[in-house]
Amino acid sequence: MKSKLKFTVLIATVFLFSCFKEKKEKYTAAEDIPVSQEMIAELTAPPHVPKPVGKRKAKKLIVKMEILEAEGEISNGVRYVYWTFGGSVPGSFIRARVGDEIEFHLQNHPDNKLPHNIDLHAVNGPGGGAESSFVAPGHEKVFSFKVLAPGLYVYHCATAPVGMHIANGMYGLILIEPEGGLPPVDKEYYVMQGDFYTVGANGERGLQPFDMQKAVDEKADYVVFNGSVGALTGDGALTAKVGETVRIFMGNGGPGLVSSFHIIGEIFDKVTVEGGSLVNENVQTTLIPAGGAAMIEFKVDVPGSYVLVDHSIFRAFNKGALGLLNVTGDENEKIYSGELMDNIYLPEGPGIQRMPTTSEIKESDIPAKSFEEQMKFGKQIYGQTCIACHQAEGQGIPNAFPPLAKSDYLNADVDRAIEAVLFGLSGEITVNGEKYNSIMTAQMISQEEVANVMTYVYNSWGNNKTVVTPEMVKKVKEKRK
């Protein structure tokens, strides 16, 4: 019996061995993998990723990354000077495979004021490339490295003051696929969290400079996905169809905060912990360290909007760490009855909630002088305060948050609507024939802001064009007293 087994093993070994010889050589060390040809790397701006490496052989991969310092919008009406890899925050996504030899060209645009460099966590060598890539404005530095280990890695600028370069948006992801590539999925997306520190408080309009002291204290004004509030909502929302498997390459640039990444209404089937080789399954919330990443995979079963958040939840609803994955397709009532929403939105349980009134509400700095300004300011407030639940086009979320678009409930009674914004609303209501039994918290915004945002809502999406004035708001407020 024993000898028979031995014999089988021997046969099997011989068979395996011959099999290997016929196919190709296996390299035990990644550094021994030869590269065949040159190839220019495809780089993509978030939320997109380049094509998978698939079965291609290791190559000499030429990466050309341009550094741009440019002004952009961090939130409605709030401007910020970003420093970027490739013109986007996070920077361009790089996709390579184990054994690739990457020739990295770091180009610092002549209009830039500052020198920069790049530290790729996928590099084995001092500074992760930072020392060899320190480049003055109007110059290009070239260095090369052999890709040794598979995984999802962060890259960032490491020029002094390092924290400031990262805080201004200089980070991104480089994916190193194993030989043969990652298992194929239906949709792949690139999302990265980052925290921003501005001289003005969250929402303060105009060009906001970087605030060094807040950054040192790690008191972020904005915590966002993909560089700005609302980058992943509205037209920027991620999409998938029922039954598809989605893979999110999720990174955290920091500089200061660790992300508790969660998707409301979805369980992650697989998470490669910290972007490495360990795979965890059935994860609700995964921790993504600053300067770290994770690959997250899940199959979407039920249509609807899924909300990406940092589950340090005030960051999501008050600082911008909120994105959407819109899933279309047929309902599956076996999996989800469609009756109630996740309770995550209401961590303190039922009852009208009020934000703590530790400080007085600040009146909006610039009062609206015209209808146009009311609309403009109202839209900003909507983007900061209402969009999370009522959605970008006022469509709401079925069974959870009633629509504001073409809303009979809203158009029927303006004072009732003002009251809801001022004091909150709970209990069953019927909007456009659908029953909702949810809770809206009292909104801590000024009377002026209430007037602006409601004017915006009433004059959008097919509503009855009521103009709400601060006086009307005041009247409702005083009646309640």
């Binding site: 209009d111 500074g127 390092v162």
Partner: protein, 258 residues
């Protein structure tokens, strides 16, 4: 007789001032000992009295210079002394690009070019320690580095685009009467790369002495001085033949003791 003598001595003093003293384009900086963010020894540095140009050198002044010294004209400058970006915002040897201003600071000049310019004026480039010393003043104090407003102002310039196209003299003058040390362009210093590259500075440290990651803070004296970090980082990234859009210069001069 007595008045004549007076008059003569007056004239002598005047002549003396004219030949040895500061010109009207320069101001006297009274030296002292101070601690820069990075010194060559990361400790106290002594700066002697010196004269410094009130303003950065302008396109107009530089054009005058290249008329006299054709070897520094745009078409003649040697690549090893000034790279391909040299005077990039000039149309040709004697004309600026449309939109460029004669009263703007000259930029896209290499260290070699800046040094030659100052030499030809009987001046020299300021040392990094001198430059940093003069630049740590705000409008009212010699050393404003601890003031929040001072740092914020400088940092906001670092984020402001295209400031090199502004005219000189629009920022308020500092305590010494010097304009535009901050808020316009970076400026060359004679020993711009000594913090990173001099043999001396390396011997003090056992590890890397550079401006990346952790090492950036090892040798620094004031970790909150982000503005200065960025200046030193910038200087560390350049070479003497680089000509850069946001980099100009001004000249300094020793005080001659007769």
């Amino acid at each position: 007789m007595r008045t004549k003598f007076f008059r003569l001595s007056f004239v002598l003093i005047f002549v003396h001032m004219f030949s040895f003293g500061q010109s009207e384009d320069m101001v006297r900086i009274n030296g002292a000992r101070y601690i820069p963010l990075y010194g060559r020894d990361s400790t106290v540095v002594e700066v002697k009295d010196f004269d410094l140009d009130k303003y950065p050198v302008t396109n107009e002044q530089y054009m005058e210079f290249v008329r006299k010294f054709p070897e520094w004209q745009k078409s003649n400058a040697k690549k090893i002394f000034a790279d391909g970006m040299y005077l990039r915002n000039w149309k040709n040897n004697f004309e600026l690009n449309d939109g460029a201003d004669l009263k703007s600071p000259v930029t896209y000049v290499s260290w070699f070019a800046a040094k030659a310019y100052c030499d030809c004026q009987g001046k020299r480039l300021p040392t990094m320690d001198e430059w940093e010393y003069a630049a740590m003043a705000d409008e009212t104090t010699k050393d404003a580095r601890i003031k929040k407003s001072y740092n914020e102002k400088i940092l906001s310039w670092y984020e402001a685009p295209r400031s090199n196209e502004n005219q000189i003299g629009q920022n308020p003058k500092n305590y010494w009467g010097v304009y535009d040390l901050h808020g316009l362009v970076w400026e060359w210093t004679s020993d711009f790369n000594s913090v990173l590259l001099s043999g001396e500075s390396r011997k003090d440290k056992d590890g890397d002495n550079n401006l990346f990651c952790g090492s950036a803070s090892l040798g620094a004296t004031d970790l909150m001085n982000y503005a200065a970090f960025m200046r030193y980082a910038f200087r560390g990234s350049i070479k003497a033949n680089f000509a850069i859009k946001n980099l100009g210069f001004r000249c300094a001069k020793d005080i001659e003791t007769p």
